[in-house]
């Protein structure tokens, strides 16, 4: 049983024209489909039909789609979620454009998750036959892929247990009130494989989005992305800097509706048997922003 990855982030935007300009021209995503008040995008090194869905009206998260390795994983996750006490409904092929049958449930954190195995394969922009290293005519930042997300929940510890029990995720890093066994979990970074985190959960209001992130290769690409954000008047929240937690290199910034985005590079390899890193609140500033070593007031308060 394995969750492969965060397959799609479906978010609300207040103004589709401005949002399209940001995600297509600044981020460099490829529009693959549009219907009604929704626009679908993929990044250049992704092969499935879409990884970002924009829906006009409001701000914040509509839902996440999680792609699993085998169709039988859907049944297994349904069984595990039900056992955890969550109500699971079946979704049919076509309820999401170009996405197959699956399940849908609301997590203990009040976020909507969908789990699916089939998506229409479009292919990467470099193909698979003697492929080049990257497409020659990338637009803007030219992100290769969606990477991870951070959400907020009143009880991150409950979400840690939920993601462990239902998705077979494991925590790579945590922020805890202390090193004691009965410490409360303030935040947790979780994954199913070598990717340092696929979903992180921070203490905060239920059902809110902190950010969703796109992958980049290294410091140079992160710095270049920040330059492009200045050129395009994209509000930067913080960065370029490093996260102490995950060791990733980062820029936090906002889309034209105020949803926080991130470009994220690096991060060490996660392994199920690697001892988990634990951070305590006295070092949280360094954990989140490794150079400033203090939180900005937006980190815990600015959510959509």
């Amino acid at each position: 049983m394995a969750v492969s990855r965060l397959g799609y982030a479906h978010v609300r935007v207040t103004d589709m024209a401005e949002a399209k300009d940001h995600y297509a021209n600044t981020m460099g995503l490829y529009e693959t489909h549009a219907e009604g008040n929704k626009t679908y995008y993929k990044a250049w090194d992704e092969w499935d039909h879409h990884s970002v869905v924009l829906e006009e009206g409001g701000v914040g998260l509509v839902k996440f789609g999680w792609k699993v390795d085998y169709s039988s994983d859907i049944d297994e996750i349904e069984k595990r979620a039900t056992a955890f006490g969550v109500t699971v409904e079946r979704m049919s092929k076509g309820e999401n454009a170009e996405i197959g049958d699956g399940i849908r449930f609301t997590t203990p954190s009040d976020h909507v998750f969908e789990v699916y195995h089939e998506a229409t394969c479009i292919g990467t922009e470099v193909g698979t036959h003697n492929p080049d290293a990257f497409p020659r005519h990338l637009v803007g930042v030219g992100v290769p892929a969606l990477d991870h997300s951070l959400i907020t929940a009143e009880d991150p510890g409950l979400m840690d247990r939920f993601l462990t029990a239902v998705f077979d995720f494991f925590p790579t890093e945590r922020v805890q009130t202390s090193l004691d066994d009965d410490a409360d979990i303030i935040a947790t970074w979780m994954t199913s494989g070598n990717q340092i985190h696929q979903l992180a959960v921070l203490a905060g209001p239920q059902g809110k989005l902190h950010h969703f992130a796109f992958r980049l290769g290294d410091w140079v690409e992160v710095g270049r992305a920040a330059d492009l954000f200045s050129m395009d008047d994209v509000p930067i929240d913080i960065g370029p800097t490093r996260h102490g937690i995950t060791r990733g290199q980062t820029v936090y910034f906002f889309d034209p509706s105020g949803n926080r985005n991130e470009v994220f590079a690096g991060g060490y390899l996660a392994f199920r048997d690697r001892p988990m890193n634990v951070w305590t609140p006295d070092a949280l500033g360094k954990g989140v922003f490794y150079h400033a070593r203090e939180l900005n007031d937006a980190f815990t308060s600015v959510l959509t």
């Binding site: 103004d15 009206g57 701000v59 509000p235 929240d237 509706s257 308060s301």
Partner: protein
């Protein structure tokens, strides 16, 4: 061209036509607590004590409640004053981070004031 008066310090800031409160304050050299600057996070709300404004984008219901649309709450990053307005920040004062911009804004405000006071059609003297 409207002005923004900041209560209780009485600072008066000159806005360009169509400019948001947030943009005007930053262009006049001031800083205060803001988040996304794009209408999504609700952190930059201030109170509008006098005057009228309109929002230049649709504002999500999760950002402004029904009550907040009529009780003087002003989401400063999206609020464009249609008259002179008086605002009060919530639990903080503006911080002057660029005094050079403040001087330029003050001159622009005095120029606009003189123009408004001059007889119709008169060319303002430099």
């Amino acid at each position: 061209m409207p002005t923004v008066t900041i209560h209780p310090t009485g600072e008066v800031i000159h806005l360009e036509t169509g400019e948001t409160v947030l943009s005007g304050l930053y262009r006049a050299g001031y800083s205060y607590t803001v988040g996304c600057r794009r209408g999504g996070c609700a952190i930059c709300k201030v109170d509008c004590l006098a005057g009228e404004f309109a929002y230049d984008h649709p504002i999500a219901d999760t950002v402004l409640s029904e009550d907040e649309r009529t009780d003087g709450t002003c989401l400063s990053c999206r609020a464009v004053p249609t008259t002179d307005v008086t605002i009060e920040l919530r639990g903080e004062d503006v911080r002057l981070v660029n005094p050079f911009l403040r001087q330029i804004n003050e001159k622009a405000r005095l120029r606009a004031q003189a123009l408004a006071a001059s007889p119709a059609g008169a060319v303002p003297k430099e």
